[in-house]
Every structure is written in C-alpha cells, then in structure tokens.
Subunit: 341 residues, 2 copies
DNA sequence: CGCTTTTTCTAAATCGTTTTCTCGCATCCG
DNA sequence: CGGATGCGAGAAAACGATTTAGAAAAAGCG
C-alpha cells in the first residue's frame, strides 16, 4: 500500500506542475482541455487515487458523518429498530458521497468526549440515534456548532426526525377501541420523550373516552427487557379485574409476553389481546402475528440523511429547530381480537 | 468549529517553537519536564484537540478500520447475527483506540471500488463481515496487501474467524439423534462456505448413522427468507413420509416455520420437531423456544478485532492464512421432542 | 580553563492536496 | 503599433502535524 502515486508523480510523468495536475483532476477552468485529457489519461493509467487525508486537511470538509449510537442496555446495533434507521441513513448519505463513522461510546480510559472526537475527526455532521440525552457529554456536543440531526428527541437548535409517537399511539388505541376493548393495560418504556409522547396519547385517549385507568393497568418496563415484560405479563394476567388488552412498549416484549401467555394456556386473542410497537420482523413471525405500529424507518433514515447533509452543504438555509414528524401505521396483525359483549 | 487551536497557537502562547510543542504533547525525551508541563497546561487551557487529518497525513496510520457489510438481500445491519458480531468488534477495537467506518457498498455512480476506497481513506485494516466472496471487487481488495480479517470464509493469506459450522451442526444433529429422530429434513442456505460446512456435517452424520437422505428431505432456502421457508415448511409437512424433525438454516426461518405449523395445527414438538441456527433473540421468545446453535458472536467479534489490530500493529508476526475456529453450543430449547417408538 | 559530551531547543523539510498570485504569451481593438 | 484582455500554466504558500538535523546552552572532566 505504501507506494501509492501522488499528484507529484503524475506531474513528473506529464511534465507539468503539480498545480496543473490538481486543476485537471478537479476540472478547473484554467487548464486547456488537451492537457486535461492527457493528465487524466495518465492518472488513470498510473492508478491514481487521491489522498483523503491531504484533501481533507486542505479543504474544510471531510464528507464523513459521525454516528452516536449508545444506550444503557448496550444493545447498540442489535436493536433492530435503530439498525433499520441506520441502514437507511447509511444508504442515503452514501449516495450523496458521505461515509459514516461511529463515535467512540465506550468508556475506555483515553477516550475523547463527543465534542472532542468531532473536532479531532472533523466530522461534517453528527447523527444522534439513541443516547441518554441528559448526559453531560452529549449536551456539550449539542451546544457546539456542528450540524446535528437527532432521532426521536426534540432539541431547539437542532433538526429532529421523529416518529409520530402521539399520533401513532392514538391510532393504535383507536384500532383496539374499535374492536370493543375498554379495559386496556399499558406497559410503557423508560422515561424519555418517546415514552412520554405515547403515554400522553394513552392517557388522553382513555380520558376522552371516559375509560378508567386504574393503577394496576399502567406499568414501566425498559424497552426490549423481556424478563421484566414476562414478569409484568404474569402480574397483569393475575389481576382480579383483568384487562382485555395489553399494550407493550415494543414488539420484542410483546412477543415475549405472548410467549408467556401461551405457556399459561391463555389464548390470544380469544382470552386476551395484546399489541406491540415498532414493526420489526418478529412481529410478523410469531403466531398470532402481532398487532403493532409499523414505524417508517426507511423514511426516517432518508430524511435524517438528507436533512443533515443539507445542513452541512447549505448552512443557514434550513430553519433552526426543525422537527420532521414521520407517521407510522397500524399493522393489524392478529393479536387483537374483537371483544364480545 | 472553524476556530480550533493548533500547535502553532500554543507555541505562540508559550513562546516556544511548534516542534517543541509537538514533542511535549507526544512526550518526547528532548523537552525538559518543566517546559513539558507548562506546554501541556497551556494546551489544556486552550482546549487543544489535535488535528486527525494532519497527523494521519504525516504518520503512516489512521487508526481507522473499514468494514465491508454487504449481502444480496440488503439486510445489512438488520441482520442480527452480524450486528452482534459487529457490536463486539466495535467495542474491541474502540478499546484499542481504533474507530470503524463503513465502506460504501451501494452502487452509486461515482463510487470507488473497495480497494480504491481503502487507498483513499488509508484504512489501517478491513473487516469483511458478510459479502459475496466471488465478487470481482472483493477479490481485488483481498489481493492487495492491506490487513484483512474475514468472518466465516477461509482465504489463504488472510485471517479468518469462523464459527465451527461443521462441528456445531454435528452437535445439533447428535442432540436431535439422541432424542430418537431418524428422519431429519434439512433446509440449507444459499451456497457458501458456511452452508457447505453445515451440509457436509449433515451428510456425514446421516451417512455414519446409516440414515437415509431422500431428495425430499433436503432443500435450499436463502438465509432469513421467511416466505420461502414458509413454503418449504408446507411442502415438507405434506410429504407422504413426513420427517420427524426439520433443521432450518437460521432462527428466523425456523421461527417462521414454527408459525406455519401452528397455523396448520401441527403441534411442536409433539407432532414434529424443528431446530434453528444462530441463537438470536427470537429463538428464546417464541413458544416452544427454539432448539438452536448459539453462536459465540461476542468471542468472534473480540477475536476478529484483536487479530486485525495485531496484524496492523505487528505485521509479519501473525502467521498467514490463520483460521480461528469459534465453537457454538447447542441451546436445548423446547422445539425438539423425543420420538417414541 | 579549554575540550568533549549531553541536554534542550529551533529551523526546515515533509506528508499530498488546493488555491492564490503572477507571468508569459497570444489575441483583440482602436 | 501599443495597450487592454484573456487564456494557460507554474511557483509558492498554505492546511497542521511530525521528524531530522543542527545549533545553542549547559554540564562534565582532566
């Protein structure tokens, strides 16, 4: 790899100056087309590949986007919902000539803070996919002036791409309500904007329809924590006044809850109904298939990518604090049945 | 971000030369400890962050590792098995001061070939997680002299970290056999080294135990292609001489096959048994839980990371073509029952 | 005190680009 | 024919770090 050819080598081969070669490669006006063609031909023959470090050093951009993907549970890439978003984001930015690099989120000793990592690597922008938004370090980054797009968390000054938690959850509740359910238990995730949005939807909906919300119908379960979900499922099933439907914070816990019910010979949806959230693959695989909200991860990724790059390439044009809401849709599935009077 | 402080600024502030500052920061011997401390203090006060591009340009390393993650189906990061490996790999290399960047695998117009991307970005090494190994482009990269570690594919000249496909599949078969199964159908993935290793294990095992392998017991299904798996499941269930157990190429297709059986009121494992492969989360969530091979993705990721960095930092020490075999283990689950005579 | 040796620092070259400035030369026009 | 215009090319100065060679200062030593 050491012997890579540089502009200087091409200049020598063509008997021109380095600057002329550079201009020819960048298609600048002040090189005659004859020379341009010759230089490019020679460059091709010599297998010239530009040196990213050199041009990034000289230019003021790197075409590299940093990605912060960190959450308590350390699920990282194995969190299917975020993986889907990231996949779509990656494709989008790649098409526009960018590359993505993960910020170091570990707690190794010599590690830089997010902001320092960004200064060090000169990322053109940053995508924050999943993180503890109250982390000191993250706030330091967000208050710097590097373009940032955040998924599912509203921040003044930054673009936010968010699923329509409130609206989607209402749609799901409407779906459940329309099938006759009135006693609806709700297991929500850990406190976060996403969780709060959905919880508001639940409380509003129940209130508007004059439905009771007893304490034993509302629980907290960390997202994707199947152990906890299983325990809660058992608790709910044991209630004297059992709900007719349980809403889970995500498809993984919902599928797991379903498993518990099957083990306990509680039939779904005949004896009890349940619904998940996200629309990951498992939702369509278990039987009965999960009723869930299918989030439009492709759209989220595309919009995040485009907004971020627009912010980078056309600073000041996008309005500050812009929030893009992406609607999900109810995936009917089979896990919510009709309640007969 | 523009106003970042450089060595020159520190030099000015300390009234010393740039080179002295550089040496102080790199803890070189020929700077008095008094000056060293002063310079470092000032650097800290001025919030100095080195410029990655500049040092990478000057040095011969970037501490950046390229990752090639590409497969036909475009599942990319959403492929849980690979996501788990990547997660573990990322943590490992981060701890050793490296960062990972994805190679552009799209087919956008101006895209560079893998080799050119590596030359351009000056990656210190490359991890090939999942790719079409017969792709012209990949071969071009592999024949260059950049350190490469490949997952689950043996290549002379390169380090390979591989699950013990042959051994693991034999263990799974033994588990099934021990429970009385003699008529075992086998659905294998698309042709690849992984597939071939497992298929050999199946054929060898069946042969050694004098078990018949009728044509209707062996099928091909692309990994994670649930539609195809569902169709095959129905086909197998309809066979006049139905097998007592079906082995699927992965947990996703197995879980999906299980769903089909449930829909058809075929009881698992009473009427028929089945097993998956990989040990992803879904395996422990469906009921009955899947009998499967739990691959040690954490170990695979750690070893891949360490081997790659060793190759980078101590070239020539690792022997060429080294293959590391990582054993998986049988996860008993509940989807394989005992066959009674 | 002179000489060598060691310590501590600086100047300058380098990595491979990009860009600005200048200059030579041809062309055009009055 | 002389001055303005424009084109094409090169020289040189960046970008920010590292490193080498060498100079100045300090220390050791007979």
């Amino acid at each position: 790899m050491g012997e890579s050819v540089s502009l200087k080598d091409i200049a020598k081969a063509c008997n021109v100056s380095v600057s002329t070669v550079s201009k020819a490669m960048n298609d600048r006006a002040d090189v005659s087309s004859a020379k341009k063609e010759e230089i490019r031909r020679v460059a091709r023959e010599m297998n010239y590949v530009p040196n990213y470090m050199a041009s990034a050093l000289k230019n003021q951009y790197t075409r590299n986007i940093g990605v912060i993907l960190a959450e308590e549970a350390g699920q990282g890439l194995t969190h299917e919902h975020f993986a889907k978003i990231l996949n779509s984001f990656k494709d989008t930015v790649e098409e526009r000539g960018y590359v993505i690099t993960f910020l170091n989120t570990s707690n190794s000793p010599g590690r830089f803070s997010y902001r320092k990592q960004c200064q060090y690597m000169k990322y053109d922008g940053v995508l924050v996919v999943c993180a503890d938004y109250h982390q000191q370090e993250l706030e330091e980054l967000l208050s710097s002036n590097i373009p940032v797009v955040v998924i599912d968390h509203t921040l003044k000054k930054h673009v936010n791409i968010a699923s329509n938690q409130y609206g989607d959850m209402r749609r799901l509740l409407q779906f459940v309500f329309d099938r006759g359910h009135r006693k609806i238990a709700y297991i929500h995730g850990k406190n976060s904007e996403v969780t709060r949005g959905r919880l508001s939807a639940y409380l509003d909906f129940m209130h508007e329809h004059h439905l009771p919300v007893p304490k034993e119908y509302v629980y907290t379960c960390p997202y994707r924590d199947v152990e906890r979900a299983n325990a809660l499922t058992k608790a709910v099933l044991a209630l004297p006044d059992r709900p007719t439907c349980i809403l889970y914070p995500d498809d993984l816990t919902a599928a797991s809850g379903l498993g518990v019910m099957q083990e306990m010979k509680v039939r779904v949806p005949e004896d009890i109904s349940l619904a998940g959230y996200d629309g990951i693959r498992i939702a369509g695989i278990v039987r009965p298939r999960l009723t869930t909200i299918r989030q439009d991860t492709v759209s989220i990724g595309i919009q995040a990518g485009n907004k971020l790059i627009n912010r980078i390439e056309f600073p000041g044009i996008e309005t500050d604090g812009e929030t893009v809401i992406v609607d999900g849709m109810v995936e009917p599935g089979e896990s919510v049945g009709v309640v007969r009077k």
